[in-house]
């Protein structure tokens, strides 16, 4: 089966890359001619009869009126900017400027570019394709009669969601901004956190039809070069028609596509992404997605919360343990309960056994079925609660709580202890949000295994999962680092969160070329003398 699968995949890959090369060969660049009407004709054909494409004819008010046209897509550009800084100077003020400016320009285009248009970013292009892609990404193109160049003025000004509080990664302390759907806003958010000139955003476009802007962010000299090269290589391999979310990129570049565990991290918080970049990772932004990918992603990162670093270390370490234990419980608790009930009743404390046995009296199903029923019911409720139109959500939760919590027990379908176990599991599973989905699947696997083989089966399956996790890599970094392979200094930020002044170097397993994060020995201490005494001296 595996063989068949990989063969197909291989076939599919090669054939699609062949198609791609063919397509690019067929399309030869079309240059802008001196004939304005001809150029506009080509553009009209290319952009179709779409109603949002605006081609505005005008005359440039020069010595002799020159025919020109402004092309843009309505909604993508800033209209104020178009009227004030482009149309007005070109149509009214050109002559005025020309009189005052005593410079000789090689071409009228150069003159307009350097002296007339008071906008920030202007590029020139000589081929029609450049005009089209510029216009589609929010530029205003100016073409003129008798000129073989077009000016592309960057005037992006579409409606966008403003920066809001993070909705998925909530924290009490710490910054409260989160990424939006606009790539530039996101990169700006990151730039505001890291003003290092070596912070680099490397841009590329992916998507045959969507032409989505992708930006790879890293700090030169902190993120290893080979890591950047590898990410670039993986990104360049993508050949698909649209990238609608970072999730698309994630699935195309992850190390273990058939693994339950994620090997690429996602975050909606600029501070988290900044921290990861500063540790020697790279981030990938996708235009249109309020999330950033970070790579390499290790298992322990799921348990690290931004709050850990903003709060003082003691509680942060404790909470990290709570998360670890909660994650373990959320996977194993139903399984343990099932196997104790069905295989090892001797392991219950005696008094507990009596009450559990009392709860078990007269129940129709074997305990495994009972557990699976409740687990599936919980997943159904969760998914329904998530996808329901918000106005219906309340109805779902009331019905769910009643059905699961009370009626199932009083109807004698499910034992009361089982409801407690499933409820505890459900709550624990949301302690570690990045692994909530992994946990749900593992929990089902563990429960089924426990129902057939008891604790023994759970141990065997657990060993297999663990050895599988140890074999995973994320961009070459072992998934279970720094625990396996062991890295003692790395443990400072694993099962505990060491004080910030104790974590002097970046995590060694990321192999950053610049290991030093801060100078050592910064543990604050009170002055030897009394403060007032020293002041008086």
């Amino acid at each position: 089966m595996f063989r068949l699968f990989s063969k197909n995949m291989h076939h599919w890959r090669t054939s699609s890359s062949k198609n791609q090369t063919k397509a690019t060969q067929n399309r030869s660049p079309v240059y802008i001619s001196k004939n304005l009407e001809g150029n506009l004709q080509i553009l009209r054909e290319a952009l179709g009869q779409s109603s949002d494409v605006v081609i505005r004819d005008m005359k440039i008010n020069s010595n002799s009126n020159v025919d020109a046209a402004v092309i843009y897509i309505d909604g993508l550009i800033d209209r104020d900017l178009l009227n004030r800084d482009i149309l007005q100077p070109l149509m009214f003020n050109l002559q005025l400027i020309k009189d005052n400016v005593s410079q000789n320009h090689s071409s009228p285009i150069d003159f307009i570019k350097s002296s007339v248009l008071t906008v920030g970013q202007i590029t020139e292009t000589e081929n029609i394709d450049g005009v089209i892609s510029g216009v589609l990404s929010g530029s205003i193109a100016i073409l003129a009669e008798g000129v073989t160049q077009a000016l592309l003025i960057d005037a992006k000004g579409w409606e966008a969601r403003s920066i809001a509080e993070p909705t998925n990664e909530v924290s009490i302390r710490g910054p409260k901004d989160s990424f939006t759907e606009t790539l530039r806003t996101n990169t700006a958010l990151l730039r505001r956190k890291i003003r290092d000139p070596r912070l680099t955003f490397q841009s590329l476009q992916i998507g045959e039809r969507s032409k989505t802007d992708i930006s790879v962010a890293y700090i030169k000299g902190v993120t290893p070069d080979n890591l950047i090269a590898e990410i670039n290589q993986r990104l360049k391999r993508i050949d698909t028609d649209a990238i609608l979310d970072v999730g698309y990129i994630e699935q195309f570049i992850e190390d273990s596509p058939v693994s339950l565990f994620p090997t690429v991290g996602t975050s909606e918080r600029p501070d988290v992404v900044a921290a990861k970049i500063l540790e020697g990772r790279a981030a990938i932004f996708v235009d249109g997605s309020p999330m950033a990918l970070t790579m390499p992603f290790l298992f322990i990162e799921g348990f690290q919360n931004p709050e850990d670093y903003y709060a003082r270390p003691f509680f942060a370490s404790f909470i990290r343990w709570v998360r670890l234990v909660g994650f373990v419980l959320s996977i194993y608790l139903p399984g343990i309960f099932v196997s104790l009930k069905a295989f090892h009743p001797e392991l219950f404390p005696t008094q507990l056994l009596v009450s559990v046995a009392a709860g078990r009296e007269g129940l129709p199903f074997p305990v495994v079925l009972e557990a699976l029923l409740m687990l599936v019911l919980f997943e159904v409720l969760r998914e329904a609660g998530l996808r329901m139109p918000r106005s219906l959500g309340q109805a779902v939760s009331i019905v769910g709580a009643l059905v699961i919590g009370q009626s199932a027990v009083s109807a004698g379908l499910v034992g009361a202890p089982m409801v407690i176990v499933i409820a505890a599991t459900a709550i624990a599973s949301f302690l570690v949000v990045p692994y909530a989905d992994v946990g749900a699947l593992l929990r089902l696997i563990m429960t089924v295994v426990a129902g057939f083989l008891g604790l023994f089966g759970m141990v065997v399956v657990q060993l297999e999962i663990l050895s599988y996790m140890a074999s995973l890599r994320s961009l070459g970094v072992p998934y279970l680092s720094p625990v396996a392979p062991l890295n003692i200094r790395g443990l400072l930020d694993t099962f505990m969160r060491a004080p910030l002044w104790a974590m002097d170097s970046r995590p060694a397993f990321l192999e950053s070329p610049d290991m030093k994060r801060q100078s050592p020995g910064q543990m604050p201490h009170a002055p030897r003398n009394k403060l007032n005494k020293r002041e008086s001296q």
């Binding site: 005696t350 009392a358 023994f456």
Partner: protein
């Protein structure tokens, strides 16, 4: 994919599947198909050796209704809650009995949570070898079950509903453990019994329970269980018993003192810590055993109308030492008269004099009553309480 790689994948799948089947026995058992045995009574016919087993099993349904009901200990009709069920069978051996159980039982007996084994006195005097054999042989048997010898038949004891626990065997187990905590009677598990049996010179012991009738405040007579003494075994046969004072002395001697009280005519003392050690000494053919006891206590009751002075305290310490010594000596005397080494003197000698032991061991029964035993008690009174002056003076 190459052949080698294919082989590798098959190997991995094999490695995943094989351990599941290599595990030997496993079996799923649903809780509502088990009958949880809380206490097991063993009556062995003194003449024929037939075994009668009394199963005290928990009825979970009743416990469920008692916890969800009004919460009272009694049901509507005024009858006590039926949380336990007794089943009885007789057969030539314990497994013969078990075999017969299936003729009338609806569920498989589940012994892993059994709290006590109760032995009828008559049977114990004949010997409990059938029990000891199945216990040692059967891997499922738990070694931490308490053993109790009943003065009457075991089946009588297991039927009595008393105490606060709604499962009688659990209550009995707690009763025994409590008495051991307060240094009254030993709590003996199967494991400890077996350990004593293995040493071949040490005599196994077990607490004894009896039934006594109590007249309640409304003149209603109820039957209750009370711990009455310590049964002393020789091999698998019970040969005698220790009374309350001797049992306590035994616990002092074998370092099983936890908390408890030392009663003197003029005062009561609470034990804080206590340790004891058996030190053997071989002088030619004569064995001398010194039992060293180190004890600390608090004064909790004083009957004399005097202020506390250091003289009185010293007096109390001395009296306390004397009292402990006399308790221990009582137990020693009784063990001599029974010729049963309940203290494990033999093992102490064995540990210290390995070579000589080979010679002593076969004759231990003859030597034992001639051992010289000295009890050395060191006591210390820690606290005298919140008052050091008598409330009413003479």
């Amino acid at each position: 994919m190459k052949r080698g790689q294919r082989f590798k994948i098959y190997m991995v799948i094999l490695l995943i599947i094989i351990p599941v089947f290599l595990s030997g026995c496993w079996d799923s058992k649903e809780l509502n198909k088990l009958s949880i045995v809380s206490g097991l009574g063993w009556d062995i016919d003194p003449d024929t050796g037939e075994v009668t087993l009394t199963y005290q099993s928990i009825i979970p349904n009743e416990i469920k209704s008692s916890s969800s009901g009004s919460g009272g200990g009694e049901q509507k009709g005024g009858n006590p809650l039926r949380t336990i069920q007794l089943d009885q069978d007789t057969g030539s051996s314990s497994y013969d009995v078990l075999n017969r159980y299936t003729q009338h039982g609806s569920r498989i007996p589940f012994y892993q949570h059994t709290q006590v084994y109760v032995f009828g006195k008559d049977g114990v005097q004949r010997g409990i070898y059938p029990f000891l054999d199945t216990q040692a042989r059967n891997p499922v048997a738990r070694p931490n079950v308490l053993m109790v010898v009943s003065e009457k038949k075991a089946s009588d004891i297991l039927g009595i509903q008393d105490g606060m626990e709604n499962i009688q065997a659990f209550g009995m187990a707690s009763e025994i453990k409590l008495s051991a905590t307060f240094t009254k009677y030993p709590a003996v598990t199967v494991l400890e019994f077996q350990k004593r049996l293995m040493s071949q010179t040490t005599a196994p012991i077990a607490p004894m329970v009896g039934i006594f009738e109590e007249t309640g405040p409304e003149g209603k007579k109820t039957q209750k269980i009370r711990i009455t003494g310590t049964a002393v075994f020789k091999g698998d046969k019970m040969i005698g018993q220790l009374n309350e004072r001797e049992s306590s002395g035994l616990l002092w001697g074998i370092n099983k003192i936890k908390i408890g009280f030392v009663m003197l005519p003029e005062a009561s003392l609470e034990i804080v810590t206590a340790k004891s050690k058996i030190v053997p000494e071989l002088q030619g053919d004569q064995i001398k055993i010194t039992i060293e006891i180190d004890e600390e206590s608090n004064l909790i009751e004083y009957k004399g109308h005097q202020d506390m002075t250091s003289d009185i305290l010293q007096e109390l310490e001395k009296d306390q030492a004397k009292e402990i010594e006399s308790q221990v000596m009582a137990a020693v005397e009784k063990s001599f008269s029974l010729d049963a080494d309940v203290f494990g003197f033999g093992e102490a000698v064995h540990r210290k004099y390995k070579k000589e032991w080979q010679d002593l061991k076969p004759r231990w029964d003859e030597i034992y009553p001639d051992i010289e035993v000295v009890v050395k008690v060191k006591t210390h009174l820690n606290e005298i309480g919140d008052i050091n002056k008598a409330l009413i003076k003479d």
